[in-house]
Symmetry: D2
Subunit: 344 residues, 4 copies
């Protein structure tokens, strides 16, 4: 209760890979904070802004009409210095100098790890908001940017499908996601991919198989499917799963099995663009939730979405990477995939 | 168990207003059914196809590459005859003649009411799938088409915002939703509307007020907001809430309060278009779920999504219209709105 | 030649209805001017900014990353005062006070008329750039914003087509264009409309016919088309052509001929949005061309595009409204339409 | 004149890389032909359909609602056999067997070369329609698909810009175009690229320079630009210009000049997607023009667009590759680029 009185200045920053909806979260935080007469300082370029004390006092006007913009007006960056005790000391020094009562960080697991380290040295409250297209944060059904990224990817693959159909051709489309298959899985289902190669299925199913055995099994499936029909065939491939990525896989299919296919790496288009409604609403809910949690004296938590409602999750939990593609979704999607794999 | 053996022919139809993702559901049903060696007959133009016995045997090829298409390949229509006992008798006759074991209907509450009536006369299994942009089906967090509709609407309003900003002008944008505010609420938040006029807030807040009192209260809010800033001002308005809609409201604001604003009725663009990823995945999950429920001998249920998982809901429950904008979302969104109402 | 030396300050403003690409033109003017060491002052809200002396010195930074933004960073507005001698005197006074050597106005015929009036009182150079979605400027094949507007409209009608097909329904879609049919014609062809009702064909063909005769002729065509097929039917209608617009036309078709159709007014979504490539490139070419013409001592001209090249056209010519839908395009499009009218 | 009587059967095919708008051209040809009571046979998979005699009689219904679809309903393919005398003999045999009076091919220079070879052995009329995203056909201002491809590319780069800005990062985006810079130039201007590396400027400017000298010159420019500002920097690169493409260029800039940048290869998304208005209208005009030219007894020509009007160009001329980026556009664009190169 007494805590509520003490919050006068909040700091915010965006860190790690940018994600569509980060600006919507910044806007929600600033508007909600102003509602409670709290000033908001935006630190630039992730934790670098803390270390170098580069910030801006965010006005209502500064966040007007940014809800629909990709990227982040506060810029983002990796910050290796934040992994050193010197970096944490500098960040702490800035926060004390600027009289920041609480810090909100929008980012992924790396950013939350930085927050946890900081919180050991600094007495202010720390709150995380999941902002990453990879959706690899435990404890939140969705992270900001994920829904936009999968929509960008399916729009791209819908276009690739046109050419694939015109030429009855095989395409391997490599998707982002770091070490998780959320994007690959969801995109694969939504664009009716003939084959999904992701951590959750491919790696597990073929655990004991050699690279070459996996390749031959894949080649066999492709040949079987193509024998029965004249049509396009699209494989979605999670990045970091196959050594050398889509380009290597395409070459190996050619060499080993005489299968002719085209590799496409969607790349950074998945990171940008105007956020879809889901990401704008999610970011608004989590942003407002973060300010309300700050006022309620909470710290060391991530503001999450669980079953469409706002929830609080320990930062420590958020970075555990045990959640996989999702609670019950993995199996459901595997079923769907099994059923749809033999479709025309 | 014995039931499983008996399913040889499934009938499907799309009914009521079309919704993006209906084709994805049709595709999922056909593929899943074929997986279990079940034939699928598609009846045309909603219940009319049942009454007139107009159907097509759906092959894998017929549903290839339709996952991304708006509308419905089975066409849709209202069917007043289905509300008569003659209509139900004719539909029953067709289902028996064609040896249909179970019927899956993708549609809204009107369609489910037809299904309930049919089920009293016909011994086959009946299963509903929620397909309506309005999202006004109880027991499912989302209905097919809703997510696409709100994205179409926010893209349109993002464009209107450009002109609104250039002219520092007030726009009233009328949105679909029949008698529910799901679309209006979500779009309002996602496009950072300055004002949301929907059943859940406006009607309730001003219950005892006369039309004119409501109008004057609104005018006062607008004038207050505009006094403090030079900027655009966008009001989203639920259809069927204000007598005469956006056009009437604009005229009345002009007449009573000398407020100059432009009415836009988004209309039918909200119904079409390529479904977003959420609707494609939802439709795929529910379509597969419907076939699996059919095989398991289930009847009189709607296949729903609850907390990202597939759930079964009594058809009777689905049409009750007691769910409102959503379980805990209404209050959450009201809070957000209160906080963001005074923003630039 | 000596003139080249004298240009130190250019003023620019955007006037009339906003059009996608106006920002791209502002950017091109500023960058080109800076290349020649000329300062650029942006006046706000059209001619109002001249009258009220509200302007901003435009830096490189101010125009960075605006090429893809709809609306206009300088805002726009109608300006009745500019039609009075007092208004022109005030504008002249501002231009002299601010030592403006030349004024570039991005807008339509109303804006150019203001420029012509101004030029009679003021000794500086005046140059126009055609910026209006209506494309109703004589002497330029394209005006900035037109290409984006027709693309926005066809994307909207593609969505409406989904519902029209699902319900085998007739839609009347009303399009912008003031008193010219450029938008209606091009959109009609590009979305394969079954019927185009525009100034260039409908008004001319039926010159002596009464409103009711025209209506009956239209009803006959619709009924004939619908008799032969079960399909959607989309009519595109130019605004300001039919008394009461699409809504009235739909009601009258219902009353007189028992034809059931749905009216859609696309409205202001046609004005906004990120400009398509054509408008960005056109705006860049015309913006650079305007600065180069200014340096060359030209005045009283519009910078136009003719046959893909930059051209100079007398402002007096630009506002004559004699060009119609286009040089040879009218007949070509009529032919196409005649051929495609009876298609499925 | 007498010729008009003889045309009863037209054959059409799409050949080479698919391009958005090919379906719109097919539709226009079929509708126009039916207007003149001519039957249209669509041959599948480019010239392969001629050689293997695989075709379909195209009905009005077959081409309804395809104007907005990417790809080609007739499929496309390369056809090495068509370069042999055996292939030409087989194609001729099919055309005679099927009583085809004239053949229309939608494709690029390779397709037209096939047509020229065919015409030496076969007495029917041959007409080409320029359909390639590369726009590298002499004698036509635009080829079908080009406008859509550049719009797809700028939408992708707008998204990349978001991340580039958030990270103040350098991106090298590789664009399609085979050996011409039309796409690269237009996209570069439209997305405000900081650097355009294309055949028309880079190759020419640095003719005598070694690869390494070119690289160092480029590195110097980048470093100069980045020294003065903190911002994103986007280079668009024509495919087939730099040995190893964007990936190699990025690595070399890193190795030689310690410049950290990210390579993106847009790839096949540029080929598909719903055609923009320009491509739909162009395809409709050229398709109708082809049928009318066929009826008028013309042969050995390409139906082109020159100054917005339909024109006839000798097939021999169309494949000469002397036209470069365009008539007067090259210099105009170079000027613009020079002016905008130093912008923020």
């Amino acid at each position: 209760m007494t805590k509520i009185m003490t919050i006068k200045h909040i700091g915010i920053l965006t860190s790690g890979g940018d994600a569509p909806g980060m600006n919507a979260a910044i806007r929600a935080i600033v508007i909600a904070a102003h509602h409670y007469k709290i000033a908001v300082f935006g630190f630039y370029a992730g934790f670098n802004g803390l270390i170098d004390d580069e910030s801006v006092l965010l006005s209502d006007k500064a966040v007007a009409h940014i809800i629909h913009k990709g990227g982040t007006i506060l810029k983002s960056a990796r910050c290796p210095t934040m992994k050193t005790s010197l970096g944490i000391a500098q960040a702490t020094s800035t926060l004390m100098k600027e009289k920041i009562d609480g810090l909100i960080v929008i980012g992924g697991d790396g950013s939350f790890t930085g927050l946890l380290a900081l919180q050991k040295q600094w007495s202010g409250q720390v709150i995380g908001i999941p902002g990453t297209i990879d959706n690899d944060i435990d404890g939140s059904d969705f992270s900001i940017g994920f829904s936009t990224a999968i929509n960008t990817a399916i729009e791209a693959i819908d276009k690739i499908r046109d050419t694939a159909e015109a030429f009855e051709r095989i395409f391997i489309v490599e998707l982002m996601g770091r070490n998780s298959g959320h994007i690959t899985y969801n995109v694969g289902i939504a664009c009716a991919a003939e084959q999904i190669i992701s951590f959750e299925n491919f790696a597990t199913k073929n655990q004991t198989a050699s690279e070459q055995e996996k390749l031959l099994a894949l080649a066999k499936e492709i040949k079987l499917a193509q024998a029965n029909r004249h049509a396009s065939y699209i494989i979605v491939l999670a990045e970091n799963l196959w050594q050398g990525g889509a380009t290597a896989l395409a070459q190996q299919l050619q060499t080993l099995a005489n299968i002719d296919c085209t590799a496409c790496i969607l790349g950074h288009i998945q990171r940008g663009g105007s956020p879809v409604a889901k990401d704008r609403i999610l970011a608004t809910k989590l942003g407002v939730g973060a300010v309300q949690a700050m006022i309620a004296g909470k710290s060391n938590i991530m503001i999450a979405e669980q079953n469409n409602a706002v929830a609080h999750v320990a930062l420590q939990t958020a970075i555990m990477h045990q959640q996989g593609v999702s609670n019950n979704l993995v199996q459901a999607q595997e079923n769907i995939l099994a059923l749809t794999a033999q479709r025309l």
